[in-house]
């Protein structure tokens, strides 16, 4: 069941104006750099992007914002991005802010066929507006619904030809749930290996969730907050 495509161009075929995309990563960690570059090249517009963050001005999803390709962001935190701020304040960009845990769980739910679930997060805040509230164990919870996307684009460390993925360290973050929730899921990996090479016991995302896979040409892996101690 070979899912290998040769390049980002082939991988992203079918993505059209107005579509909803999930894009993996936390900050600039574990983002599908090569696919984002291809989205910029394609020039698709009016996208709804579901991604925990929105990149920085000149990297990550910030590149799509620069090209005014995004109509709506669904995220938990969107700081560190001047162009984002400008578009949001001018009303060009719609923003739906969601608590991070609810965002992660709503993506998982979308992939897992669970249309809605109750969570305490956001009760009593503006996040709860218009949402059903119910008490469980004496504590109020709100009903949150599943999220899915036309395409999910994720980034993994290693992947095999059948689409099985292994992430590295905290570059895992939102990638596994988004891989589950995409109608079509595209994975870009640092190292693509033949099926049978990866230990079946150590697969983070089983290939069933991935429709297309390619090895990225180059990963810049920019660090957002380089923090060190002296020796």
């Amino acid at each position: 069941m070979n899912k290998v495509v040769n390049n980002p161009k082939t991988a992203l075929e079918g993505i059209q104006d107005g579509m909803t995309l999930m894009v993996g990563g936390f900050g600039l960690c574990g983002i599908p750099e090569n696919s984002i570059a291809q989205l910029v090249k394609m020039g698709v517009k009016n996208l709804t992007c579901i991604s925990n963050n929105a990149g920085v001005d000149d990297f990550g999803l910030g590149l799509l914002l620069q090209g005014k390709q995004v109509r709506k962001m669904i995220s938990s935190y969107v700081g560190e991005n001047d162009e984002f701020e400008r578009q949001m304040l001018s009303g060009e960009l719609e923003v739906d802010l969601i608590p991070q845990g609810s965002l992660a769980e709503r993506c998982r739910a979308g992939g897992a066929g669970i249309p809605a679930f109750f969570t305490p997060a956001g009760y009593g805040t503006e996040v709860a507006q218009g949402k059903e509230v119910r008490i469980f164990n004496g504590k109020p919870h709100i009903l949150e619904s599943a999220l899915t996307a036309d395409f999910a684009i994720v980034k993994a460390w290693k992947g095999d030809t059948e689409g099985n993925l292994i992430y590295k360290a905290t570059a895992r973050n939102f990638n596994p749930m988004m891989a589950m929730a995409g109608k079509i899921t595209i994975a870009e990996v640092e190292e693509l290996v033949p099926a049978g090479t990866l230990d079946p016991n150590q697969i983070h995302t089983p290939g069933i969730f991935v429709q297309r896979i390619f090895q990225g040409e180059k990963f810049e892996k920019r660090i957002e907050q380089r923090t060190v101690r002296s020796k």
Binding site: G30, E85, C107, P120, G124, T125, A171, P176, V228, R229
Partner: protein, 218 residues
């Protein structure tokens, strides 16, 4: 004298108990990790997907794939583990994390907290704060007693959009340790050399002051 940020972190670190899993927010809370009491072992969780965070890496040893929820480069301790963000919030929502320390713009006397949005200013988002405050059994807020205009942030009612309701149990500021109980602040300790009168004057919320208010031991 009022505490500095490190002093607040040091005082909060005294609340740690052996064997606890702890989530530290950005800012002053992060500093708590520097003051773990002797003989106590705690493990730090970061909501992007790691348990067992170690110190920041040495210069040149940063790994872009290894960051905390503040997007800072970090290291891991022995016994660490990585997981996806859904599992990470399963830990938080499922109350497997024993203590959450985070900052706030305002706290009210019934335990409401506001720390994510100022109307009229650019909104960056709540990140994981709403999940953390809604679920944690044990929340300590690290904050300054007043804002830059000198107005109290320890209030009867929060004025900013809320992050969570009725969830804060304890507040540590540069002036005092406060407990929230039955809809009131209770003054537990004062910073070394800070008078009870100063704390009272800088607290807008209802404050219960016992006859004797010990100084923090830090």
């Amino acid at each position: 004298m009022a505490l500095d940020k490190n002093g607040i972190a040091k005082r909060i670190a005294q609340e740690l108990k052996d064997g606890w899993y702890v989530n530290l927010g950005i800012g002053i809370p992060t500093l708590v990790a520097n003051y773990i009491p002797e003989g106590i072992e705690v493990e730090f969780q970061s909501e992007n997907g790691i348990l067992g965070m170690g110190p920041f890496p040495f210069d040149g040893e940063e790994d872009p794939d290894l960051i905390n929820a503040g997007k800072q480069t970090i290291t891991v301790r022995n016994g660490a583990s990585f997981f996806d963000s859904a599992t990470s919030f399963a830990m938080i929502r499922g109350q497997h994390v024993q203590l959450t320390v985070l900052g706030a713009m305002e706290v009210s006397q019934n335990g409401d907290i506001a720390n994510w949005k100022i109307p009229g200013k650019m909104v960056k988002g709540m990140g994981g704060a709403m999940d953390l405050v809604a679920s944690a059994e044990n929340i300590i807020v690290a904050m300054m007693h007043s804002n830059k205009a000198g107005e109290s942030k320890i209030l009867k009612n929060c004025t900013l959009p809320l992050t969570g309701v009725g969830c804060v149990k304890k507040v540590v500021t540069e002036l005092a340790v406060l407990e929230i109980n039955e809809g009131k602040f209770h003054l537990l300790e004062r910073a070394p050399g800070v008078s009870v009168e100063e704390i009272i004057s800088k607290t807008e919320g209802e404050l219960i002051v016992p006859n004797f208010v010990p100084e923090m031991q830090i």
